[in-house]
Amino acid sequence: MYSKFAILFVAGVAALCAQETPPNNSVKINLPPDSPLTLISTDLGDSHVSQRGSAVVLDLDVALTLHNSSPNRVRGVTLLVAAQEVTPGGKASVSVPSLDVAPNQNFPVRINLRLLRPAQMRGGPLVEVNLDGVLFQDYSFYGPNRLESRRTMTAWEMQAQRDRKYFKSILAARGLDGLKQAMLESLNRQAERPRLDVQVSRGRAVTSAAVGEHAVRFAFLRFPGEPVEPVEGWAEIAGNEARNPRIDVHNLSSRQVRAVEIDWIVTDRQGKQYMAGSVPASGPEFNLKAGSTSRVLQDTALRLSRLANDGGTPLSIAGMTGFVGQVEFADGKVWIPNRESLANAQLLDILEPSPEEQRLMDLYRKKGPKALADELNKL
């Protein structure tokens, strides 16, 4: 009799505590028939479903193995991740830039995703993964580009080439010791970089504290050779909240511009500067012909606070600075500021590193200067 009770009890507790494995059809991977990438395998690894009170939490740890079936080297991939049933107003993507995948080579992409929902799960896929774009070595692109991944991946690739060139020049001029010194400077810069906790919402104030809202004017940094210049811009500021940035930009080039991204720096009352985000403009409504002026406008609210380890207090915004971070022309070519311009404007201490610089720093940290030098010489 005791054993009957014990079995019932243990089985009950186990059923309550157990983390179930999600069904195999939780994730659906869709690659078009003419895709330059083919799916080799999908591994759900440590994925599990668990109960948290009245909510269901689905933790997906998806390891995809993709195959480059094109004749070109792949430099970057963006996958669109949709969970419409959970967040009808949102979507997600996972990008892997700074790749160098030869034809007929396999490469991994990992997606770690968590869905929290109050109800029990229904059947069918909860998450659908679609290919949004593939960038090749020659800057050609494949994909529906719903997320503007062509522009972002092209910009990342240009940043990668810019930063590799910079570190290669140091290696050539000052050898391994010089490279080591430059890497330590990068690592220190990233450790010291002032960071903020930012919350983003669309189309309304994040808090109801719109009292005392006033318009603050952007100051602009200008770089030599930039094809687009910011003319003037404003945002509504209320305490630690910045809303509705609008910036007029003028096309200095002789080519039509399809997209512009203005990087946005805020200054607190002590004069400390932080990277708040970027203000992009693209799409059919943004038409910037040669010599014309147009407006970059976003209906968004950003709420800025210091990080928890820095007190977590709301940041009182005293000033704003903007500069052109990216320009995409109608032919798909992209302009980015060079490293010298960023250094001269003392922006390297504020900006986050490019994905490639992040990768190189990681390589240096884990394998040392010799491995980094080999990597720089390889590409």
Binding site: F5, V109, N112, V198, Q358
Partner: protein, 192 residues
């Protein structure tokens, strides 16, 4: 111009100044933008404190009903057990047989369930901010889109150094080097 001190501005923001000092500070604020901004910052901080004070969304009423029902069931089962113990010679072994033992187990299970509900409450998905719209934010181990209590998160479980950036078109980005693959991975969330 002499500015009021920080304490005065903080008390003003909280409507805690006396009438005379309130009027004098108000007159100063009317012509001093710097102090107005300070007051606004104090007001925002107060809003945040209020938000932080809120408890996560746990359905207390429903839990209370569940617990009361479980306790009643447990007491009823206990009565059955006591009756059997007094009446029958089988003592402890007798009470664990048949339907009564099932009822006893069910009551224990129900209590364990309630305990687990209390021990492992729903994660605090209620936003620390006002309003019903979708909000993007960075969390300790990823970036999160929260909409109506449901969340979609992209996690960076295999990396320590992560860079975050926000896009004013309604996006949040986290970039890191995946420790398993060695590839830079950039997670993006977008709110429409």
């Amino acid at each position: 111009m002499t500015h009021p001190d920080q304490t005065t501005l903080a008390l003003y923001a909280g409507q805690d100044l006396g009438w005379f000092r309130h009027r004098r500070t108000q007159r100063h604020l009317a012509r001093c933008r710097e102090c107005r901004d300070e007051v606004q910052a104090f007001a925002s901080a107060r809003d945040n404190l209020v938000a932080l004070n809120e408890l996560p969304a746990i359905p207390w009423n429903r839990l209370a009903i569940d617990m009361k029902a479980n306790i009643r069931l447990g007491l009823a089962a206990g009565e059955c057990v006591r009756g059997e113990r007094m009446a029958g010679p089988l003592g402890l072994f007798g009470i664990l047989s048949g339907a009564r033992s099932l009822a006893a187990c069910a009551s224990v299970m129900a209590l364990v369930t309630a305990g687990l509900f209390l021990e492992r409450p729903t994660p605090p998905t209620a936003p620390a901010i006002a309003g019903d719209g979708a909000v993007l934010r960075a969390t300790a181990n990823g970036i999160e889109l929260n909409e109506g209590g449901q969340t979609l998160s992209l996690l960076h479980v295999r990396s320590g150094d992560v860079t975050y950036s926000a896009g004013a078109q309604g996006s949040m980005r986290a970039g890191y080097v995946d420790a398993d693959t060695g590839n830079v991975t950039i997670n993006n969330l977008y709110v429409q």
